[in-house]
Symmetry: none
Subunit: 495 residues, 2 copies
């Protein structure tokens, strides 16, 4: 297996470059001086180029070919070779200028998007999106696809997935979801929206967030929590996983659920086998699985009654304003369904409607059926059909998300896959009576252990749908998510 | 000039790597999760290796040789070629094992030094210092020197400088300084040390620091100010210069003078010609010039009467505690001279004594006249001769500084060169009546403009002493510093 070991050495060298690039990306989001954006773009483009060069180099190709000629010594080796080959073929068919142009454009586009959103002026972002869409189509053509360009991009995020599978899954629950969300919104109307309104000092929010993040299992010695405008989680190498959130002085739940969500991502990263760092077996498998972990901790754990039976007294302790709110009313408030124009503010019951809209628009953009200039109108039309009202402006419509500015076309569908996977994994884990009993007492360590054993430890050795099959007995099935939403929003006993 | 342009392209590529490495270093100091230290070391070692490889590569050598064969199109080109050649020869004459051993030893030595200092036990650090000294001597031998090994190391920090020049400069003011500092300490004894003692909220300190930094000309759109244990300034590329400071709740001047000092460094970095970034003509020229800028803004500007006539009302506004302290008493307090065993706590009047001590010891160590085991005794003997008392222990004596543990032999003398240069540059600039008149009203924009035109814009095109000659009409002359100290500490009209 000496060629395989050579290949692993090259892969670990690539990981040094990609984690370095991730540090630069984290820094850009958390506090890069505004005037430094162009040079940061140059640094990131250079590193992307170096990564691409290494991943497509002669030594890499030779090591890969030689390793493939050896007899694999384990299923992990076979899986790694499968993934190495896949990524090598994908990387070698892209010319270097395309890779560098993508990095550079998206760094500039991110800044332009920020300005466009703040001014609600789509025209400031449109030319960048044109370029990014063109680059995405060129990539899709080079990578190839059987049915539609979206396939080629989806494969980046969800190995082995086909657009048609996603369409089938989404179609099978869109109608139920639309009905369910409408009922949830109607039922929630009797819960006043401003029950929690008060003053929540940021330092107290940070205290609660850190205590909760640590208690559910996020290792703060191997991570940190920072403040940004658009929260995310990033993994900068072994034992360096960084969460971000944003604070509202009048509502502590916004930063807290942000932290729970990102900690879900972070605990997946912290649960990846460190000895496999830099190899597929040490990498997260897909966005749909990643998002299952964030949603599980944010929603299935973080919005549940047992969780708050434990944590509500602490919250009341930190925020005297809550003394006037009963636990029952608190739970009703954090599980209140309303229609919002903003995806990231959407509740569980309505969230996936936002995804269905974006999934449809992106497929049309990529197929050339929707021009960039027509996006605002198409967005508003689709939004009105799903939600029954129009977004107030483009800042609250087609400009609300950062993803396109980062070249992340094909990405959104994985959020809903994540929601569906979360419900299915939570349901399966809860079949273990010991896990369920602990969970009822808000002891989530056994639940995390189950995720570590059944999801995190696998790295990318299985395709996401095979991992779901192995962990739960079946591929992604939307019925668990629907059952969860019904239980939470349409019964008198929201769990 | 096509070979020269090729060389510049390689140099700009190296700058992308070195600024990336600087981002990782900044991140390590400002908030790396503790468990991530080993992986960060691996990332930094990898980048160092890449930088070294590129700087000593065949393409680099060929471009350099071909560029040298061309006719330079400008003095800047000639200067850049001179510097490129110097650094290439220095980098290529070190065998790889020496470079690796230095990195390895200094990483171990830093940890050992930390432990030795905390236990005040020199024997824990001594074997590491033996090795570092041996490595430094081997490097000096490989780099070559005319008079003594210190020359070869000094050249790393102060291009074109000779130890004998430094000796001549230091010798010419040591006696005056010793006398002057003793008188200053005696006169200051009547100023109570705790006049400013009070409660200074960090947020108010940050407000004042940012207002002052911006008002003296540090561009916060192209920089930021963070909090660390050991303050520094780092330049992460064009328009990205980061200052750090530390806060004491009972004394706002500590963080403020830290910011003024680092902002002096930062404004030099921000004043380097951006079009020359990555080339010698776009790099800071030496530590002695860099330190002249930090000392100028910290001491000549930041501790002056005109400066505080403008800023003291604002400080009183932010810190009600100061209402009971007159401007006169405030100025006496921030310009109070005392003997401290610790260099970084020393005031202007006594600081350079700490450097004279280290300079002499280092030269004797490098010439083999002072054995490592004898350093504590030699330190204490020299300290007593200069200060009139013994350090309480080695932690407050020969173990106080991190520099040797990082292999930074030859570094200390540049601090005093910086102090001398600061006084000389300030004196020269003030000869311009418009600058002096503005300064008297605490308008420092013309002073900064003078530094930009006469110091920053030159990058590394001139040797530091030639730059001093061009800017002030003479090489470093300690009389300006002595005159400044006399005016500040020994008259009844401290400016």
């Amino acid at each position: 297996m000496s060629a395989y070991l050579d290949l692993c050495t090259l892969a670990r060298e690539r990981a040094l470059l990609s984690t370095t690039s991730a540090v630069l990306g984290w820094d850009q989001e958390t506090g890069l001086p505004p005037a430094a954006v162009p040079y940061r773009a140059a640094q990131l483009a250079y590193l992307s180029g170096q990564i691409h060069q290494l991943s497509t180099s002669d030594p890499w190709r030779k090591a890969l070919e030689a390793a493939e000629a050896e007899t694999p010594d384990s299923p992990t080796t076979s899986a790694n070779l499968r993934e190495f080959r896949h990524h090598f073929d994908r990387a070698t068919c892209l010319p270097r200028d395309l890779v560098e142009q993508t990095a550079k454009t998206s760094s500039l586009a991110k800044a332009a998007w920020g300005e466009a959103r703040s001014k609600s002026d789509f025209s400031l972002f449109a030319p960048h999106l044109e370029t990014l869409l063109d680059l995405a189509r060129r990539k899709a053509d080079l990578w190839g696809y059987e049915e539609e360009p979206y396939d080629a991009l989806l494969e980046n995020y969800e190995r082995g997935a086909r657009t048609s599978d996603v369409v089938r899954i989404f179609d099978s629950f869109q109608e139920d979801l639309t009905t369910l969300s409408r009922e949830a919104v109607t039922r929630s109307a009797s819960t006043p929206p401003d029950l929690l309104h008060g003053y929540y000092p940021i330092i107290a929010q940070q205290t609660l967030n850190a205590e909760i993040a640590e208690s559910i299992g996020f290792d703060l010695r191997a991570g940190r929590i920072d403040t940004v405008a658009h929260p995310f989680c990033t993994h900068l190498g072994p034992r360096d996983t960084r969460l971000t959130t944003r604070y509202h002085l009048t509502d502590f739940t916004s930063s807290l659920f942000g932290v729970l969500h990102e900690a879900g991502h972070g605990m997946y990263d912290q649960g990846l086998p460190e000895s496999e760092h830099g190899l597929p077996s040490g990498n997260a498998v897909s966005l749909g699985i990643h998002e299952s972990q964030s949603r599980l901790w944010e929603n299935h754990v973080g919005r549940s009654r047992p969780f708050w039976e434990r944590w509500y007294p602490r919250a009341v302790d930190l925020f005297p304003n809550l003394q006037k709110v009963s636990l029952h009313d608190f739970l009703r408030t954090i599980n209140r369904a309303t229609y919002s124009p903003i995806r990231v503010e959407a509740d569980e019951a309505t969230y996936d409607l936002h995804i269905l809209l974006r999934f449809d628009l992106e497929r049309r953009m990529l197929r050339g059926e929707l021009a960039v200039k027509d996006i605002p109108a198409a967005w508003n039309e689709a939004f009105e059909a799903l939600f029954g009202f129009l977004p107030p402006d483009d800042a609250h419509g087609c400009l609300q998300d950062i993803h396109w500015s980062m070249g992340g076309l094909g990405y959104f569908s994985t959020y809903t896959l994540g929601n569906l996977n979360a419900a299915q994994l939570f349901h399966t884990a809860q079949q273990d009576l010991r896990i369920a009993a602990s969970f009822a007492k808000a002891d989530v360590a056994p639940l995390l252990k189950w995720m570590q054993d059944n999801i995190h430890a696998a790295g990318s050795t299985l395709f996401p749908q095979d991992l779901m099959r192995q962990a739960t007995g079946e591929p992604t099935n939307p019925q668990y998510h629907l059952a969860h939403l019904r239980q939470r929003f349409l019964t008198n006993d929201p769990q």
